[in-house]
């Protein structure tokens, strides 16, 4: 060896068939090779370098290790001042474990004598090819930020998606390996035996790992070796916030809905009267007025957060009872149908909810100053909620189907929308004179709002017919008929009471005798609606969409997909649902387009459709494999065995579709 020049030593294993030894992280069990160097003056020993491992599966467990052959490298650097002409003795105690089904701990002592010379050492020619080969198997270090990962939880499993651009690892689209696997440096973080699912999305690849059940949070960094084909990369993946398509459109609608809430008869007067009083009070101090505005906003937000909390608790309770708060659950759809139907009648003025609460708490708003405006905000929501309910209902129903965070943010947007006009007036009090005066137009507006609600009922009925068939729709319509009759009777009763005060019952009991049958009919109507819910026989499952012919599409099945992939046939997957508007638009504009159909035919693609209108575990599982939790999802498997699935964008144009198909 030459002083000051590092040289590489190798430890070579030849392993009998059926046996294996372990990588630095042995996976579920095992023990890596360890070298303990005897200290030698003038020599510095580097870390043991491991080649990239292979996955060795055994039942539900898996190890990371080596079969047949493995070569470990270590760098030794002689100090510059080492006198030449001497020989140095290197000595290492080694321990390792070999396992087949049984495990044998082994140990050995390696020693080596090397002369120190003032010239480059003669390399052992016989071993040179082995060293070169070993070097190609040592993972190449890649800069941080090349790979990131995000977390996703579903059904008690915690998934990690590794996200990276193969281009930045030096792969061109034509040289892209098909097999990828990730080996973490540290044990206990991921399930070693779990299948790692790969998808292609745009230019990037995504590899799904299953996180081990950990107590506490998953670390924000994940270091390990990523193996693609026969190349390996030592990398540190940085956590990125979980990938969530931010519900911008929903937020926009919630915000607009919030503004609309101000036009409801019970809120609008609060708005103008309160602002007027504030304007008068703080005529000389516009900054005070602004603080009032913000306090009001906070008050509204605060009340909506309370509402969110209540909703989430209800949802949690419901989930424990096994109710699904999703549009796939026919029960939930029927609940929504009745809710919207009743709220529509409420908007029409057939009955009013909770008018008695209205005066309650108004004394709080008479307080002076900032707390007064805060409570005006609280009052505007809490006390006015009953009259806003018809408009809020749909938003709340929708929010219930969402994740916790989304529910929260939608309701916050609703709150901000509601507070915005007030806040605006506090900044620009002069526009107050442009505002319409409260008056009968408000009642007209309120009644008009019933019709969008009835339209929603119509759409929900269609979704229900897709899920459970036309018979249960008939039952629900019958239920609505009964409910309508009950509401009409209630209104007649109320009007009679007004015309002939003598009819006014003397006691509470008398009143209930009259109202009792009405409520009974309403109750019966609702029961009738649920009575008819029967799951449609599964044989029809994929011919559900009567609006579009399913010619050319076969129902999705994971086994079928696998067998098609094994023969290398191209497959296009289309996951859709009746209640998904984007899906329906894509169906009509893209998949029913003759040009697109011709293109598919030319490619010889098998077209598979997964209809998620109803709860279907096989489809839910398939969606998760592509990193999605909802529809639409479009996936393209090009011709050839084991080609990677390409996930297409949700909003399709013919152009993007064709670009992916190429």
């Amino acid at each position: 060896m030459e002083p000051g020049k590092p040289l590489t030593l190798g430890v070579h294993f030849q392993i009998k068939p059926g046996w294996h030894t372990y990588w630095k992280n042995p996976g579920d069990s095992g023990e890596p090779l360890k070298l303990h160097w005897e200290e030698t003056t003038g020599l510095a020993f580097g870390e043991l370098e491991f080649p990239y491992p292979t996955l060795i599966k055994a039942g539900p467990l898996a190890s990371y290790g080596f079969e047949k052959e493995a070569m470990f490298l270590v760098q030794v650097t002689p100090e510059k001042g080492l006198p030449s002409g001497k020989t140095v003795k290197l000595k290492a105690k080694a321990t390792w474990l070999v396992c087949a089904e049984i495990c044998l701990p082994e140990k050995g002592v390696f020693d080596l004598e090397l002369p120190v010379e003032n010239q480059a050492p003669q390399l052992n020619q016989a071993w040179q090819p082995k060293f070169e080969e070993a070097r190609t198997k040592i993972p190449r270090l890649v800069p941080t930020k090349t790979v990131s990962f995000s977390q996703e939880s579903s059904e008690g499993n915690n998934w990690l998606w590794l996200n990276f651009l193969p281009k930045r690892l030096g792969f061109s689209p034509s040289s892209l390996p098909k097999n990828w696997h990730f080996f973490p440096d540290q044990g206990g973080l991921i399930e070693a035996a779990a299948e790692q699912v790969l998808i292609e999305q745009g230019d990037s690849l995504r590899l799904r790992l299953q996180a081990a059940p950990l107590q506490g949070e998953f670390p924000s960094q994940l270091s390990g070796v990523l193996v693609g084909g026969d190349q390996a990369f030592q990398m540190v993946a940085q956590a990125q916030p979980s990938r969530m398509t931010f519900p911008w459109t929903m937020l926009g609608f919630a915000f607009l809905g919030g503004i609309l809430l101000n036009l409801m008869p019970c809120v609008f007067p609060v708005l103008s009267i309160k602002v007027l009083s504030f304007v008068k009070k703080s005529h000389s101090h516009p900054q005070h007025l602004r603080v009032y505005g913000w306090m009001y906003t906070l008050g509204v937000l605060f009340s909506f957060w309370i509402l969110t909390a209540i909703l989430l608790i209800l949802k949690q309770l419901g989930n424990q009872l096994g109710w699904g708060f999703q549009l796939q659950s026919p029960n939930f759809i029927v609940v929504l149908i009745f809710l919207f139907f009743l709220l529509g009648f409420s908007l029409l003025g057939v009955f009013e909810i909770g008018t008695r609460w209205m005066g309650l708490g108004s004394h709080l708003t008479r307080r002076q100053g900032y707390s007064g405006s805060f409570f005006t905000g609280v009052l505007a929501t809490v006390v006015a909620t009953p009259c806003m309910a018809p408009l809020m209902g749909p938003a709340l129903g929708f929010a219930l189907t969402q994740e916790v965070f989304t529910t929260w943010i939608i309701l916050s947007a609703l709150a901000l929308g509601m507070a915005t006009p007030y806040l605006l007036l506090c900044y620009l009090p002069q526009i107050l004179k442009w505002l319409p005066k409260p008056g009968p137009w408000m009642e007209t507006f309120k009644q008009f709002m019933a019709f969008p609600l009835f339209a929603t009922v119509l759409w929900l009925l269609w979704v229900l017919s897709e899920q459970t068939g036309i018979n249960s729709v008939f039952f629900v319509l019958g239920g609505l008929l009964l409910s309508g009759f009950a509401l009409w009777s209630y209104q007649r009763y109320q009007q009679k009471k007004l015309i002939k005060p003598s009819l006014k019952p003397k006691g509470r009991g008398r009143r209930w005798i009259k109202l009792g049958p009405i409520f009974l009919i309403l109750f019966l109507g609702i029961v009738l609606g649920f009575w008819g819910i029967q799951p449609k026989p599964l044989s029809n499952s994929n011919s559900a969409n009567f609006l579009e012919p399913n010619a050319g599409w076969v129902p999705f099945s994971a086994e079928k997909l696998e067998s098609l992939r094994a023969t290398g046939e191209p497959v296009f997957l289309n996951f859709t649902a009746a209640w998904c508007l984007t899906c329906q638009v894509n169906e009509r504009l893209i998949f029913q387009n003759p040009e697109v159909q011709q293109r598919f035919a030319k490619l010889g693609a098998v077209l598979m459709k997964g209809d998620w209108t109803r709860q279907d575990d096989a489809i839910t599982k398939a969606l998760r494999n592509y990193g999605r939790q909802g529809v639409p999802v479009y996936v393209w498997y090009a011709r050839g065995r084991n080609t990677m699935p390409k996930v297409l964008p949700e909003i399709l144009t013919q152009e993007t579709l064709f670009r992916y198909l190429n």
Partner: protein, 201 residues
């Protein structure tokens, strides 16, 4: 203003509490099982509520198990804690024909030669309970509190090797967990990566 502040902080508390409840992992309850023991009795976990329970995955042929039995390390712990009322159960999840598969008589004999005194040795040749708990190695430990929650899971100690000389240098997690638990103190390390031979399912 005071009132508003109070209202705000309390509502934030409520909301964060709910969010926590919805998102945080539930306290890991130990799944119930029932297995025949080498004593001839059937052991049902839910009937052991009110007691501290240790589950130890065992394979007589595994060098890592041998390390801790031949040195007397595990037998000593078994004695120390069963004397204090802890139920110490070894579990044999090796499939028939694979290393570590033993009959009731065989495992009793093995334990006798090692002077070990577990409360019972559970026979799980189908690996049902092993898979239920996700037992990966022999040894692999689970400590269960009287409420039936897993309070420690993982390795016996901090040095993964088959060398008996390492036992003295290592931090013994199982000993730490049990002594803290019995003294009514919180358990410092609740989860580690187990080491050893793979369970021969």
């Amino acid at each position: 203003m005071q009132l508003i502040k109070k209202l705000f902080s309390s509502s934030l508390l409520v909301i964060s509490f709910i969010l926590l409840n919805l998102t945080a992992a539930q306290a890991a309850t130990a799944p119930d099982f029932s297995l025949p023991g080498s004593s001839g009795k059937t052991v049902k976990l839910s009937e052991l509520k009110g007691k501290w329970v240790v589950l130890e995955w065992f394979n007589e042929g595994c060098p890592y198990v041998k390390k801790h039995y031949e040195s007397g390390n595990i037998p000593k712990l078994q004695k120390k804690y069963t004397d204090q009322g802890v139920v110490w159960l070894t579990v044999l999840s090796s499939a028939p024909g694979k290393q570590g598969h033993q009959s009731a008589e065989e495992v009793k004999k093995t334990m006798a030669t090692w002077q070990a005194s577990p409360t019972d040795n559970l026979l799980d040749p189908e690996g049902k309970v092993g898979r239920l708990y996700g037992a990966k190695t022999t040894p692999h430990f689970f400590v269960i509190n009287p409420k039936g929650e897993i309070v420690y899971q993982g390795a016996i100690d901090s040095i993964s090797s088959t060398d008996q000389a390492d036992i003295a240098k290592a931090e013994n997690y199982v000993d730490q967990a049990l002594s803290a638990a019995l003294a009514g103190k919180p358990i410092a390390t609740a989860q580690t990566v187990p080491y050893g031979c793979s369970v021969k399912y």
